[in-house]
Amino acid sequence: MAIDKQLDTLEVMLNMGPQHPATHGVFRMVLSIDGERIVDVEPHIGYLHRGSEKLCEHEQYSQIITLFDRLDYIANFNNELVVCMAAEKLMGTEVPERAQYIRTILCELNRIASHMLFYGTFALDAGAMTPSMYAFRERERIQQIFEATSGARMMHNYFRIGGVKQDVPEDFSQRVAASLGPIKETIEEADNLVTFNEIFLARSRDVGTIDGKTAVALGLTGPNLRASGVDYDVRRVQPYLVYDRLDFNVPLGDRGDCWDRFWLRIREMDESVKIVEQCLAQMETGPIMAPMRRISRPPKGEVYVHAENPRGDLGVYLVSNGGDRPYRLKIRPPSFCNLMSLKHMMRDAYVADAIMVLGSIDIVLGEVDR
């Protein structure tokens, strides 16, 4: 019997993760590949699901802050800030000036720390070992400031509804100012070592491209969106804390490829350094906590608050029924929404670029699965 049917080619399914070091956590991708070309990608999430939203309904407001520390565990202060702002907005609390400046400084330092980690890990994804060492070294400086201020390197629990836990140490300003110099040097080093390196350029230019219109349609936020040339930064569009008094630029990319996303974060570190410098100059002594009752009971109502995190636009939708625990707390994590673009970015990329594309989105799985 002759076979008259022609043989078809099949796409090969390739499983990546969940225990893959380059997926930045427990994240699984199932790639459909045609030779070396990615045809489709199916992300699988939920390995780190802890039910944070539900847990929030059973915790007092002061305890919820500890849960938010553990969402995006690389930018803890930025997370704490959003839940505090949500409760404050609902209660109509006016946060003292000094507390606002402390919060801004810590959030921007955390942004630098987060982007510094991105610089290291993304270079590692591209195959360069050295930058990750330098990045971690610089991040350590910031972590030590955090430890001196809040008592913890990562899970700070330092912001309170209505202010901050305690005043910053006496030598805080000097320490921050002293660490900004080496940070600036490292940013310059990053440019020399990675950003404009031709090997890195060849590896990341025009890889995982996404245009502005699609990026908006997919709900991308943060550096990923701005890399596609869309000028949207919550610090600018809806200024919170003291950002309306500060002078900073919002860097924009043009092509929306991996290199743009990398370059943009490096430039954002420059801006954050500028913001911290301005805050240190403007900060005055004063109270650090608004007069609050011991147990916060926001009035009945609902509120949506969002802020610019290192990874994008973190939103919290808080519904209160007047009790000491929220009735419902919905988290809009930037990493989760940014992950939506994975399929779009990876289509027609090569298998070797899959890690690059995933790395350039800069996800934190604690936030994706929450």
Binding site: E59, Q60, S62, Q63, T66, L67, T130, Y134, R137, E140, Q144, E147, A148, T149, S150, G151, A152, M155, N157, K165, P169, E189, N192, L193, V194, F196, N197, E198, I199, R294
Partner: protein, 163 residues
């Protein structure tokens, strides 16, 4: 080409920098003053008893319910040696559950619980991380000696007196 040389220069310059790595088990970096290690119970040297009265406020406010406490009548109060009517009978913190958030210290009205600098508590026995009252007080005494601890309420009174 030039960019590659620039990169090489960065690596070369860094090769002559002093290493910042501490070889951890052999070498310990000092922790900051405010460092929050595991919570411990403090000892009142004036009366020779714990500060803790077992009021349960920390137990109720703990986000992970990692501790339990039991209060009793203070024998020293009957003798007139102490001002505390009630005193702690038993206290247990499960360090395996503790998330080092410091909420217990925040809510305590008696300066009875403090975040120590102790953070290396790996054990090889099951439930070895459940600290009972004597162990917590022992750790507390060590912490008090380390940082020359004074009760916060006393400190505040002192500050008010000077101000």
């Amino acid at each position: 080409m030039l960019a590659s040389l620039k990169g090489m220069w960065v690596t070369l310059a860094n090769a002559f920098k002093k290493p910042v790595t501490a070889q951890y088990p052999k070498e310990h970096l000092p922790v900051q003053t405010r460092y929050m290690g595991f919570p411990v119970l403090t000892w009142d040297y004036d009366v020779q008893e714990p500060f803790c009265t077992g009021c349960m406020v920390c137990v109720r406010n703990c986000p992970t319910s990692c501790m339990s406490a039991q209060m009793m009548d203070n024998p020293l109060f009957k003798d007139g040696k102490s001002k505390r009517r009630k005193i702690i009978e038993s206290f247990e913190i499960n360090f395996g559950r503790c998330i080092l958030c410091g909420i217990c210290v925040d809510v305590c009205n008696f300066d009875a619980i403090e975040m120590s600098h102790q953070h290396e508590l790996s054990v090889v026995v099951r439930n070895g991380n459940r600290a009972d009252l004597p162990r917590l007080l022992e750790m507390g005494k060590a912490y008090q000696a380390e940082v020359e601890w004074t009760p916060k309420t006393k400190e505040e009174a002192k500050q008010e007196a000077t101000a």
